[in-house]
């Protein structure tokens, strides 16, 4: 590998307009905020020079320092000190590794950038080497499914979804779920989700339910998402986004789990009809799976507890409390 040879390269002043404006094949920067770097350069100057590669047509591509060049352009520098290598001196893989190690030495890559790295390495490095060397370097588990997921993430996700991922507006799990969809379906679901701003847990529930319902009801997701019942929630001017998110999830859950939701409602209705003392409450176990219900009593002293218990024993209809589906089974 020729990388050690390039370290003594002297810098030269380059017109920033001659440097290609896009990240090119070696840079792996995505979703960054240029302002802190621009402020730093403005305050103390450029500490490390970017490194460029020049092809036979005298076109300059960034190997290292894409963000710095971007910041310098923002600051209006008309000459940038850069190291310039000829394409005959270093191979594309060496350029890629120069960028990777330079980045890893100074910062952590985000998930999209990890996908960029693996996708690029994928075409140039044996898979075994990627799994054994580069995935641990990126702090990723060294297994095939993870590798394939990150490559797919880079290749298939739209820029907007990638931005949401980097900004942590969607989780990696949500990205995984979106990746399992066809492109059109993904775009519909993502647009709907981003209009409502579901939190991370809600995103999973939403995607799970919408996919299940699409399969069960044999309807495309966009048809489901355009149904009047959902549209009505979206355009409701009296609700804010969190309220809309909850209403949508409730609607979908009722449709996906009709028996469970019916049982929950019946149980709630029964409990509220019992005229329990205010300090006592009765709760069903999650999904009614455990056989026992739970009675909760709040009290400050024994006398108060005793009074509540006495009142409970006199509560009418308590004998009828039981599994809310008994009549239906």
């Amino acid at each position: 590998m020729g990388i050690p040879k390039i370290t003594p390269i002297k810098s030269q002043l380059v017109n920033p307009n001659k440097i290609e404006d896009f990240p090119g094949p070696y840079c792996m920067s995505f979703g960054f905020d240029i302002r802190p770097l621009a402020q730093s350069i403005d305050r103390v100057g450029l500490v490390n020079c970017p490194l460029l590669i020049e092809n036979k047509n005298a076109e300059l591509t960034v190997i290292v320092g894409y963000r710095r060049i971007h910041a310098l352009k923002t600051l209006g520098w008309d000459r940038i000190p850069c190291g310039v290598l000829s394409e005959f001196e270093v191979s594309p893989l060496e350029c890629l590794l120069l960028n990777l190690y330079d980045n890893l030495a100074t910062r952590k890559l985000n998930e999209v950038e990890k996908g960029m790295v693996l996708n690029r390495l994928h075409s140039q490095v044996p898979r075994k080497e990627i799994l054994e060397v580069y995935m641990p370097l990126l702090e990723l588990p060294s297994n095939e499914p993870t590798l394939l997921f990150f490559i797919k993430l880079e290749q298939e996700l739209d820029t907007e979804i990638k931005e949401y991922l980097v900004q942590k507006k969607i989780s990696l799990q949500t990205a995984k779920m979106l990746l399992k969809m066809e492109s059109d379906e993904r775009s519909h679901v993502f647009n709907f989700m981003s209009s409502i701003k579901f939190n991370i847990n809600q995103q999973k529930q939403f995607i799970d339910n919408i996919i299940d319902l699409a399969v069960i009801e044999n309807k495309p997701t966009h048809e489901l998402l355009n149904e009047p019942s959902l549209k009505a929630i979206l355009v409701n001017k009296h609700s804010n986004n969190p309220q809309k998110a909850q209403a949508i999830l409730k609607l979908l859950r009722g449709r996906r789990f009709p028996s469970l939701v019916k049982a929950e409602k019946a149980f709630k209705k029964k409990v509220s009809s019992l005229d329990l003392p205010k300090s006592a409450s009765i709760h069903a176990p999650p999904y009614f799976e455990e056989p026992h219900y739970r009675l909760e009593v709040l009290f400050r002293e024994g006398k108060e507890l005793k009074e509540t218990i006495n009142r409970l024993t006199l509560t009418e209809d308590l004998d009828d409390l039981g599994d809310p589906w008994e009549k239906d089974v």
């Binding site: 399992k180 996906r256 789990f257 028996s259 469970l260 999904y287 799976e289 589906w325 239906d328 089974v329």
Partner: protein, 363 residues
């Protein structure tokens, strides 16, 4: 011969120069054989087919006899698994093996003949216990029996033991070696059954229900004790009519007095199986039900749905015959009570119940 096509054989180092391996290879003339050190990317078939046409012979390092991996939250039958192979050539959409094992191919343990004595020694060391042993938990017991000849190895050895029974569980009609043999005692031949709809749409490459029951009738007429397993029961459109049709077919082909037990279980799976089913079986209806997270972390139907399934099956099976040894697989005490009208309370109770069935049938 087996109805299942083997397109490739992989032989791991530990399986080479074994009589079993030579025997298997002699039954697969013309099939390409590759000698491998272990699982590599070259030995892994396409994820979607899971290597169901690749026979992978290896030496198994673990315990061959293991208790059924039940969970303490639900009542388990206390079955012992004789681990002869993992994965299965049948391609049921609901199969938990799709996510249970992280290695593909039909992995057959070539050192079973060497290890079986150790298993039998363990059984013989506890004459007071009844060992209900089966090979059908991690694979189909008979699907590739014409290639592996497991029945030749196992049946005589289990047949002569008074504190064990061997259950061979299948969805196939591969009974030739069984009926050709002379042993019947303490051998249970069992079929997994489902509704005609589920069998036709979700149990790919399995024999039709009618053929399974014809094979069961042949085994019964040859003197074998039968078992049946309705697991997984799956609610689907018209499921009551559909399961009734299966019971009617059973009535047509089988004498219920020769049945040792019928288990009922509803679909349950680790959450990781769901995306695999979606990917491998896009038209499947098995994920349509109302699944909740059970006490063991597995997805299972909402309780009243399970109770309705079991209650319906019990009522209709008992109309056919009262003494079928019905039991529930991995259910809670309250579900037992509400669907079967009694409960063994715990795993020990269910084990005792099934042991008593063994004594009643085999003495």
């Amino acid at each position: 011969m087996s109805n299942f096509t083997i397109k490739k054989v992989l032989v791991e180092e530990g399986a080479r120069k074994r009589a079993f391996t030579d025997e298997v290879l002699s039954k697969l003339p013309g099939i390409p054989v590759q000698h491998v050190k272990g699982i590599t990317s070259a030995t892994v078939s396409d994820e979607l087919d899971m290597g169901k046409d690749t026979l992978h012979l290896l030496s198994y390092k673990g315990e061959f006899l293991k208790p059924c991996p039940g969970t303490r939250e639900y009542i388990c039958c206390g079955y012992q698994i004789l681990n002869v192979a993992t994965n299965c050539p049948i391609n049921c959409s609901y199969c938990i093996l799709q996510s249970y094992f992280n290695q593909p191919n039909l992995r057959v343990f070539a050192n079973l003949d060497e290890k079986i004595d150790q298993v039998l020694k363990e059984i013989d060391s506890k004459p007071e216990c009844i060992f209900r042993v089966g090979t059908g938990e991690f694979t189909d017991s008979l699907a590739i029996d014409s290639i592996t000849c497991w029945s030749d190895l196992l049946i005589p050895r289990f047949s002569e033991r008074k504190n064990a029974v061997l259950e061979l569980k299948t969805k196939t009609t591969q009974i030739d070696r069984l009926v050709a043999g002379k042993y019947r005692d303490r051998i249970i031949v069992s079929w997994s059954l489902n509704s005609p709809y589920i069998s036709a749409h979700e149990e790919h490459k399995a024999a039709s229900l009618k053929k399974r029951l014809e094979a069961a009738r042949q085994c019964q007429s040859e003197g074998f004790v039968l078992g049946f397993h309705f697991d997984p029961l799956i609610p689907h459109p018209h499921w009551k009519d559909e399961y009734l049709r299966t019971i009617e077919l059973m009535d047509k082909y089988i004498d219920p007095k020769g049945i040792i037990w019928i288990s009922l279980g509803s679909l349950r799976f680790m959450p990781g199986l769901k995306p695999i089913i979606r990917r491998r079986h896009p038209g499947s209806c098995v994920l349509d039900g109302e699944f909740i997270t059970g006490l063991d972390g597995k997805m299972r139907y909402f309780k009243p749905i399970r109770i309705a399934l079991y209650r319906f099956m019990r009522e209709n099976l008992e109309k056919w015959h009262q003494n079928l040894g019905l039991y529930l697989c991995m259910e809670s005490d309250d579900v037992w009570q509400k669907s079967l009208g009694w409960s063994p309370k715990n795993t020990i109770g269910l084990s005792s119940y099934l042991d008593r069935r063994v004594v009643e049938i085999f003495g």
